[in-house]
Subunit: 465 residues, 2 copies
């Protein structure tokens, strides 16, 4: 057994659910399915029940044991009936469940210690016929069930654990990493975890895989894995260039020197105020932050909105000469909701757009290029507008063009963020929250961000692949 296998065996030990967990889970899943089938018998339409997801395929990581049960209705059923019957079956299957909403309503709850989702969908003939995104899941499940035996399930668990460890696991819009389905497809395609790492270590994006050889279109993504159940779809569409590169990087590192720590998600100790101060001194930069109440939207809406807003702010800072070195945006979970432990109550606490500027202050004036002298009335109009303005230097000529040096609108990043924040492109919920009020923190003031974002600041000031 080489070092790779030795390390992997230890990880496998840790992440493989034990027999007791597997048995209990199978029993609970069976009960949920039975209760759903019983409820279906009372409906005026036919439907069947299928267990899907990693717990249906034996590929879940010890502890991550969500049971997913899909109830499939005929494709000609109206949307309204699907929703009504789906909730009815779900309530029967998960008696203590509550209604949640994704593409349509479903029931979520706990059954004997397991989290269970009971989701209605249409039983369409093939995946490309889907009427709703969830209709695709049973096809994915069937495809993988046919291909993943117990040996390969172990490889899938290792791959998931590795991607979690390096921070690239999850297709949520904050992570933009590898989904469970994508991970399982990659392991099937390459034939194992070690083979996946060996391949990824040598990936040259765009990387294109098409297990069924049936792609019908091109995708402009760094990683393309054509869905075996839907030739039009890239399973890796959400996976960012950074996460593709991250897998390549850590695959190389691990193959060169296998180490169990690669499977441990990084958890940096939150920074203290004085540690943030030390970093800023050492870097000689000028941080500015916009702190506000995070809008009450789900995470998959919040992070894209934070990113869009951050890009807007960074663009404005750069255009005004404050030269952003690096920036990031974070939201903190609401402390109260966390404390009472009821996830249905979970809203966000503070959010922050954090920008580290290279330049703290600009001159009072800025150069403003006017028209070429030869463009007639436009040129004379420009000249006349500034010629008698005692606040302006010029107009003078640079080459064939009029130029003035006139007062800048914003001398500092604070001026800009206090006066013109709503002129930049912002996410809609973020903008709504900002209009309720926000704080601009500059320089030294930013150290107080450690109260809500000490962990994020620790990662920010110790950036890794």
């Amino acid at each position: 057994m080489d070092e790779f296998e030795r390390v992997v065996a230890a990880v496998d030990e840790r992440v493989t659910p034990d027999a007791a967990e597997r048995e209990r889970l199978a029993a609970v899943a069976e009960r949920v399915v039975e209760r759903a089938e019983t409820a279906i018998a009372d409906l005026p339409v036919a439907a069947d029940v299928v267990q899907v997801g990693s717990t249906a395929r034996g590929t879940w990581l010890a502890g991550d044991r969500d049971i997913d049960v899909f109830v499939r209705f005929p494709p000609d059923l109206s949307r309204a009936d699907l929703e009504a019957y789906g909730l009815q079956v779900g309530r029967a299957a998960v008696p203590d469940g509550r209604e949640e909403y994704a593409e349509h309503p479903y029931i979520k709850g706990r059954v004997e210690g397991f989290d269970v989702d009971c989701v209605p969908c249409y039983r369409v003939p093939t995946a490309p016929d889907i009427q709703s995104a969830v209709d695709r899941t049973p096809f994915h499940n069937a495809y993988l069930l046919d291909r993943i035996d117990d040996d390969l399930a172990r490889e899938v668990r290792l791959a998931k654990a590795f991607l979690k460890g390096v921070g690239a696991y999850g297709s949520d819009l904050r992570t933009k990493g590898f989904s469970g389905y994508l991970t399982e497809l990659l392991v099937v395609e390459y034939g194992g975890f070690r083979q996946l790492l060996a391949a990824a270590a040598d990936w040259h994006p765009p990387v294109e895989l098409d297990p069924e050889g049936h792609a019908t279109r091109d995708h402009d993504d760094p990683l393309v894995v054509v869905d075996p159940t839907d030739p039009d779809r890239n399973v890796a569409a959400v996976c960012s260039a950074r996460n593709v590169a991250r897998l390549t990087h850590y695959a190389r590192e691990f193959l060169a020197a296998p180490d169990e720590s690669a499977f441990e998600p990084r958890a940096a100790d939150p920074l203290t105020e004085s540690e943030v101060r030390d970093h800023l001194d050492r870097r000689g930069t000028h941080p500015v932050a916009v702190r506000f109440d995070a809008p009450d939207v789900v995470e998959d809406q919040l992070y894209p909105q934070l990113e869009k807003s951050l890009a807007g702010v960074v663009g404005a800072l750069d255009r005004n000469g404050f030269d952003v070195l690096r920036a990031d945006a974070w939201a903190a979970p609401d402390a109260a909701a966390d404390a009472n432990g009821d996830p249905s109550d979970a809203t966000w606490g503070d959010a922050v757009l954090f920008c580290e500027c290279a330049v703290v202050e600009r001159p009072r004036i800025e150069r403003h290029d006017g028209p070429p002298v030869d463009v007639g009335e436009h040129a004379t109009g420009f000249y006349d507008a500034y010629a008698d303005d005692g606040e302006t230097y010029g107009p003078f000529l640079d080459g064939g063009r009029y130029v003035v040096e006139r007062e800048r609108p914003y001398r500092t990043a604070r001026d800009l963020l206090e006066s013109a924040l709503f002129e930049v492109r912002l996410g809609v919920g973020v903008e709504r929250s900002l209009r309720e009020g926000y704080d601009v923190l500059v320089g030294e003031e930013c150290v107080t961000l450690v109260d809500a974002f000490g962990g994020q600041l620790a990662a920010y000031f110790d950036p890794r692949p």
Copy 2:
């Protein structure tokens, strides 16, 4: 008489040499020519003498009365003989003259209060046959003599006086403006001073004139006036886009509101230290200056070298993030040489490269982009080089690329100019002088520049077209 004519008549009165000046000049010129012809009679070759320049054509401005006498030798004469015979004739024609050197040696001196140049050249059949640049002058002279009568000579004087007034007269490499020959051609071409202004007010560069309709090539210049005596040559090649635009600007201004002040060269009062300080406060900028002994070269070499050096310094400041708002370079005449009044002794005093920066200080670190992760050994080499460097932040990933934040070489403009001045492109004589030593002045220290450059700073801080 309209306002234009009234103003112009007053100027004409001032710039037209009076009868006494014209008669004295004609008498002196005749004497010089005769002495030259007498000296030629002693030579073993044939030669003739021709008076050229504005004083030969009646287009000089009162007081600007240089007499130019050219001695034309056969084109098959050797260069050495041309130089020897030329100096011999020149010394006879200008007994108190001294030897000067342009493309070849000539004699310059004073004769009865007039400055006289006696220049040898080849008598070639046509201007395109020239063997030396000065051979062209007699062709220019003959062309203009045929076309400029007394009325048009008045128009030429007005045009020259106007271009002097607005700072666009002179084809030296500091001014890069309109030469006398160019000005005379433009007046001939447009038919008068007022017509020239009317045309220039509506110029749309590139402006192309070809009086003889014989152009043989294209020119990439804002103003093209094909030499009537040489179809290959653009008489306006040295004229900068700025000076072309300047004539357009001031032509419009003057036609709209004729005012004698347009003919008065601007002479700003030198600034005091406190006035410079006030400007810098008002502008909120950060000046840096490199002060050194100007190299001992002629003005037509010095200014191109200063410009090249300034461009090098500005480029380095910009590349390093100090963001130059505006810059200029100046040389002061040597005070001692000025005082004793002997121009042969005239060397330069201080020179300065003056740059007004928008940014005074940069962070300790800068972003440094590495290779994409997928480029194999180059990528792993980059990662390994920085991974264990405690001074560097990262490597981390941005998209698919490694990035580090590492120490900047220069945090301030002073650091840069004190440490890396010789890494920028400099004019050769300027570099030689800088290697003897230089001062870097920053911020407040720059106010001391008023001692040598008060007038230049006055113009700098009151920029006009």
